[in-house]
């Protein structure tokens, strides 16, 4: 890496002996035919390298991505038009729209759709608001700030399975820590598993616990990028800390907030492990009355408990359409946001 002196660009052709692969026309030198051939070969190899190696570099990613990402995604749509059973997953029989029309009439599908939505709201809204508040606090000059940051991120290191099993125990009806604490302040214990709202709140608590700290760090990063002068001029105008937070911090964070909303929404649509393992009965129904069964869990139940892979594909494809709607709404919203700024 010594060839660029930059001062004498006209003579910067690399010395031939050191491998002059650069595509420069040979400067006027004695035309030695062997030397010329070697140089041609090098320059051909150079051009070939520059032209094709980018494809070689992106190829591994796109080959794997096509085989295990794109193809299965599209094939899900194809499989959703067939009857496929788990007992013989390679045998497909054309079924037209049958899987979809069955879903349309299936009360558990609509219930799962509704649950996915309500659990999504209960878990996402408090989570992001708390994360915003925590990030604001972490943005102060603090002692042990790194300790706080690592500590609030530890739930992120806990797996869905471990976290859910622990919370299922904490939310136990008879011996759970939560009901015991309620008893301490004179409240009756709650049958968390069997109520619609209580079970959905409990499931959402697991999601909130695992992801609040993570989102707080994302907000914190965005807050640190807010220019200082904005706060200074707001302070000069007499804005209180709360006003500064509302009128400087939050507006500056709007793109980040939008980003976290999208990511959390996507996470919420595919919620699976929490409602599966929260159920101490060990079934995939999401409670005796399907009261906290999500779409992800319903897809699993149809495919791997009831053995209807075709119907599971139809559910997956429906989830995909919902995600597309979310993405479209997001794009629309983001454009309006950009215009308003």
């Amino acid at each position: 890496m010594t060839a660029t002196s930059g001062f004498t660009p006209d003579t910067a052709a690399p010395p031939a002996g050191q491998g002059g692969a650069a595509p420069r026309a040979a400067t006027a030198q004695a035309p030695d035919p062997a030397e010329q051939r070697r140089r041609d070969r090098r320059s051909r190899r150079y051009r070939w390298d520059v032209r094709w190696s980018p494809y070689a570099f992106v190829a591994p990613f796109f080959i794997f991505f096509a085989a295990f990402g794109l193809f299965p995604l599209l094939y899900t749509g194809w499989a959703s038009l067939h009857q496929v059973e788990l007992t013989d997953p390679t045998h497909m029989e054309w079924a037209g729209w049958h899987n979809f029309s069955r879903l349309w009439e299936d009360e558990f599908f609509w219930k799962a759709l509704r649950n996915t939505f309500t659990i999504g709201v209960i878990s996402t809204v408090p989570q992001l608001m708390m994360a915003l508040g925590i990030a604001h606090l972490l943005n102060y000059r603090l002692r042990a700030s790194m300790f706080f940051r690592v500590a609030i991120l530890t739930p992120y290191a806990t797996s869905v399975a471990a976290a859910t099993l622990v919370f299922a125990l904490l939310f136990g009806r008879d011996y759970g820590m939560v009901n015991w604490s309620l008893g301490l302040v004179g409240l009756d214990g709650i049958d968390w598993q069997n109520g619609t709202w209580t079970s959905q709140i409990a499931v959402s608590t697991i999601v909130i616990w695992r992801w609040t700290g993570y989102n707080a760090l994302i907000y914190l990063a965005a807050m640190q990028a807010v220019p200082n002068d904005l706060y200074e001029s707001a302070a000069l105008d007499g804005a209180s800390r709360w006003k500064q937070f509302l009128h400087v911090t939050v507006p500056s964070l709007r793109p980040t907030i939008l980003f976290t909303v999208v990511v959390s929404t996507i996470g919420a649509t595919q919620l699976f492990g929490e409602p599966l393992l929260f159920n101490t009965a060990g079934t995939a129904t999401g409670g005796a009355d399907h009261q906290y069964q999500t779409l992800g869990l319903y897809m699993y139940e149809q495919g791997w408990v009831n053995l209807h892979l075709g119907r599971a594909s139809a559910i997956a494809w429906t989830m995909f359409l919902i995600l597309l709607l979310i993405a479209a709404a997001n794009a629309l919203f983001a454009r309006r946001l950009r215009k308003s700024q």
Binding site: L73, T76, S240
Partner: protein
């Protein structure tokens, strides 16, 4: 090129200190410059306790017996049954195999994701080729599509290849990641000066040599971050391993944990011991590399 996020707080000590008429106790500098008050610490400590308590309680419950967990009040301090439970989980529920399997899976997936993401990210950041923008849009677009939606065809493929219950069933489909490519592209377009690549070309270095001698050294901090994030994610991956490794005998940690909770009379203290075993390696990593992981997530947030 440090991994830790550059803190603006410490960056401008020379900035003129203006004292605003308002803003509490005469400290009128920008919001972030203010010291946290007592309430700030109180709330943060409360939140930290909330974040850590379920983990501590996992350990407490794992150190008790199943009978003790079915009594009121719930135990608030450690008992003496921890090693007994750990031993049972380790030997009785394939937890030993599971730990090894998960390490192999997460290690392979992290290494391959980092490698392929770095070279593809480099191509997207610094090289010119046809269809580059379309391919990049495709990558970004699929970042948001959850792998769960493709699970039926994946299952068919794995069944056809007869990979069910084998580790390659969970390794091979996750060897690359769109997020990783995007992450490395964002990092390299800033951290790697184009002149450096041109200089190497002038020296006659081939693209492969440039990858090895220029790109990898420049990308190292981001590679470390991506590797850690991918490892954590792969370690905790649940849905696909749960489906692909169905039969007993060769589970990952999360699958073994599920199996533990699915007995006819589940032993809660044993389940908690399993949860502890499955979480402990990552917790240790957090204690050791917490600062880097925090920095990585915050860095990814700003650039993503």
């Amino acid at each position: 090129m440090s991994i830790t996020v550059s803190s603006r707080r410490t960056r401008d000590p020379a900035a003129p200190v203006r004292t605003a008429p308002h803003g509490g106790k005469g400290r009128g500098r920008a919001g972030r410059q203010l010291h946290g008050g007592k309430i700030t610490y109180a709330v943060l400590i409360l939140f930290t306790v909330g974040s850590l308590f379920p983990l501590v309680w996992t350990a407490i419950a794992a150190s008790r017996t199943n009978t003790r967990l079915a009594q009121t009040p719930p135990p608030l301090w450690f008992g003496g049954n921890l090693f007994n439970n750990l031993d049972k989980a380790w030997n009785g529920a394939h937890m030993g195999t599971a730990l090894l399997n998960t390490t192999v899976v997460a290690g392979t997936v992290a290494a391959s994701t980092v490698l392929f993401s770095t070279i593809a990210g480099f191509a997207f950041a610094k090289l010119r080729f046809r269809f580059k923008n379309i391919l990049l849009m495709l990558t970004i677009g699929t970042m948001m599509v959850p792998p769960q939606l493709s699970v039926v065809p994946l299952y068919m493929m794995v069944a056809k290849l007869e990979w069910t219950d084998q580790l390659q069933a969970v390794i091979v489909p996750t060897l690359v990641s769109a997020f990783g490519v995007f992450f490395m592209r964002q990092y390299l377009s800033q951290a790697l000066p184009t002149e450096l690549i041109e200089a190497a070309r002038m020296d006659g270095a081939s693209s492969l040599r440039i990858i090895w001698h220029v790109v990898f050294p420049a990308a190292r901090p981001a590679m470390a971050v991506l590797g850690m994030l991918t490892f954590v994610q792969s370690w905790n991956d649940f849905f696909w391993p749960f489906i692909a490794l169905t039969q007993n005998g060769n589970p990952t940690m999360q699958v073994a944990l599920t199996g533990l909770s699915r007995g006819y009379t589940p032993d809660q203290s044993l389940i908690m011991a399993g949860a502890l075993l499955g979480t402990l390696p990552l917790l240790i990593a957090f204690v050791l590399f917490g600062k880097q992981i925090v920095g990585g997530i915050m860095q990814g947030a700003v650039k993503g």
